[in-house]
């Protein structure tokens, strides 16, 4: 996959085979890679320092073909799932299991750790929408896929499911809580599903695409509403939660939220703020006083128009981060094996890597009821 500019990508065969550049590296032959909703922010040209020629893709699985001299835990032939975070495992932040905040993987920014295929702001690493990919710190991130696990379940463990789970976890959900999830994309769907695991008593999802609302109702057994059919989503949520507001609100949308002309024009069209913060705005205004707002939607690095005065006046706790995928994997693998979560059910499109431009367009334009596209490289044998 080769990024050529906003809304333009193509499959190229002339990118060089990746090399071991550090003794802790591995080279992985990709068997599955996904397009993530976050990739669309890159695809739409919203993330600074996204350079022409980059390969995207931070959700992938693959077979180890080569390891550096310091790699001890992996060997050629291992089929691994690779968390999207590139993490050293030894810096103070990794020691705290904040793998998304590693201090030794992203030279170009300090606010975020290294991420595969996610612009130079996230370290300038080529990603997994390719046949082969360099995986730094191979002893830290990658996990050998359990033999009985479906490869589609495995690839969704690299980002989507852990991010949805951490969104619910950061919400501090208590037994019986009402949880509102903004966004019925793959992460919002998983957040709604995972809210039940923490004992939510009511889960409500807000989106504007009917096919996604239908999907999340069935998949996550929740209520789902189209904000286009509501005069005022915040007022509706207040009324339906006993006039107090929800206990927990989750922003699973990030910088390309629809629903507010002002936010759309200033954030998405004119780039005067770091994306449109409509979902966050609604989350802060819909949560009860003393409630928790959990943010996993991706925003740019500059400022946003958010109602910070309401955060103060309502005594809201805000929790947010890139997901620490590695920390959550043992628990989530167990949940899949126990049948609590069936991640692969959200995969709606399997597309050959050579047709990556069409896959991006389908996902970006919400065509063909697309929920989650998976790319299969020609060399994948599974």
């Amino acid at each position: 996959m080769n990024y050529r500019g906003p809304f333009r990508v193509r499959a190229d065969r002339d990118k060089p085979y990746p090399e071991i550049l550090h003794p802790g590296d591995a080279i992985v032959r990709v068997t599955r890679s996904c397009i993530c909703g976050s990739d669309l922010h890159l695809y739409h040209g919203l993330v600074p320092d996204t350079r022409v020629g980059m390969t995207f893709g931070h959700e992938f699985t693959g077979v180890v073909v080569e390891t550096g001299s310091l790699v001890e835990k992996l060997k050629p032939g291992d089929h691994v799932l690779v968390p999207f975070n590139i993490a050293c495992g030894v810096c103070p932040f990794c020691k705290q299991e904040l793998y998304g905040n590693c201090h030794e993987s992203n030279a170009e920014a300090t606010a975020v750790g290294g991420i595969f295929g996610y612009s130079h702001t996230a370290g300038g690493y080529d990603g997994g929408q390719a046949e082969y990919v360099r995986v730094p710190y191979a002893d830290v991130g990658p996990v050998v896929i359990p033999p009985e696990m479906d490869p589609d379940d495995a690839v969704l463990l690299t980002d989507v499911l852990p991010t949805g789970y951490q969104a619910a976890e950061m919400g501090g959900i208590k037994i019986g809580d009402t949880v509102v999830v903004f966004g019925a994309g793959p992460v919002g769907i998983m957040a709604a599903k995972c809210a039940w695991l923490f004992g939510a008593g009511r889960v409500i999802v807000i989106d504007h695409l009917e096919y996604r609302l239908d999907f999340v109702r069935n998949y996550a057994q929740c209520e789902a509403y189209n904000f286009r059919s509501l005069e005022d989503p915040v007022l509706f949520l207040k009324k339906t939660t006993g006039d107090y507001g929800a206990d927990v609100c989750i922003d699973a949308v990030g910088c390309e939220a629809a629903g507010s002309a002002m936010q759309t024009i200033t954030g998405r069209k004119m780039l005067l703020q770091a994306g449109s913060a409509t979902a966050l705005y609604w989350a802060i205004n819909s949560v009860k006083k003393g409630g928790i707002v959990s943010i996993v939607g991706v925003y740019g690095p500059t400022f946003n128009f958010v109602p910070i005065g309401n955060v103060v006046n309502k005594g809201i706790t805000i929790r947010a981060n890139q997901t620490s995928v590695k920390r959550l994997l043992p628990k989530l693998i167990s949940h899949i094996q126990s049948g609590y979560i069936n991640p692969k059910a959200i995969v709606t499109h399997r597309v050959p890597l050579e047709e990556v431009a069409d896959a991006y367009h389908i996902f970006s334009s919400k065509l063909d009821n697309c929920i989650k596209p998976v790319l299969i490289p020609p060399s994948a044998y599974i």
């Binding site: 050529r4 500019g5 906003p6 333009r8 990508v9 550049l21 550090h22 003794p23 802790g24 040209g45 600074p48 320092d49 350079r51 022409v52 020629g53 590139i86 050293c88 020691k95 705290q96 299991e97 904040l98 030794e104 993987s105 992203n106 030279a107 170009e108 920014a109 300090t110 290294g114 130079h120 300038g124 080529d126 730094p136 976890e169 501090g172 959900i173 208590k174 037994i175 039940w196 923490f198 004992g199 008593g201 057994q221 780039l271 928790i292 740019g300 500059t302 706790t317 929790r319 620490s324 049948g339 609590y340 979560i341 431009a357 896959a359 367009h361 970006s364 334009s365 065509l367 063909d368």
Partner: protein, 163 residues
């Protein structure tokens, strides 16, 4: 809790991760007793630098590993180098980077031609999928674009004739 549980029997795994200690939830700071030494850890082996890598001025030098995907080059590279004089909290950092990205798109097209590649922009934009799944919308877009183009050309010609 038992009553609640029976109410949610239809949801697999309901409350399996409920934990009264989950407040204010993860990540909790892990106190090690020597937090004052937090940056004095043994850094991993340093990846040799064989391409130009820009680094945030909020940190000394490079991280132990770094990406080498697309080193800065050309005019966009000059703008990116300028941007890295400013910290991550500054518009002087991010706005030039966005400008560099736009310059880089034009450089990419020039580079394609230099290599003898004629970029198939319609294909790169995924118009095959648009034709397959949103034919009516595509036809509408083409017709509207054509109509606007004709009107603009007409207005320009009229302006020239009057001038």
């Amino acid at each position: 809790m038992e009553n609640e549980k029976s109410k949610f029997d239809h949801i697999k795994g309901w409350a399996v991760d409920a934990d009264s200690r989950n407040e204010p939830t993860y990540p909790m700071k892990k106190y090690t007793g020597d937090d004052h030494q937090r940056l004095n850890y043994t850094r991993p082996y340093q990846q040799p630098r064989n391409v130009e890598v820009l680094h945030s001025n909020e940190r000394p030098g490079l991280t132990a590993v770094f990406g080498t995907s697309v080193p800065p080059s050309g005019l966009s590279g000059k703008v990116r180098r300028y941007a890295f004089n400013y910290s991550e909290g500054s518009f002087g950092h991010w706005l030039p980077l966005l400008l560099a990205d736009r310059i880089n798109v034009a450089e990419g097209i020039i580079d394609d031609f230099r290599k003898g590649v004629i970029p198939n922009i319609l294909s790169e934009k995924g118009w095959k999928a648009e034709w397959k799944y949103n034919r009516k919308g595509l036809v509408q877009k083409v017709l509207v674009t054509a109509a606007v183009t004709v009107v603009v050309i007409g207005l320009l010609r009229k302006g020239n004739a009057n001038g």
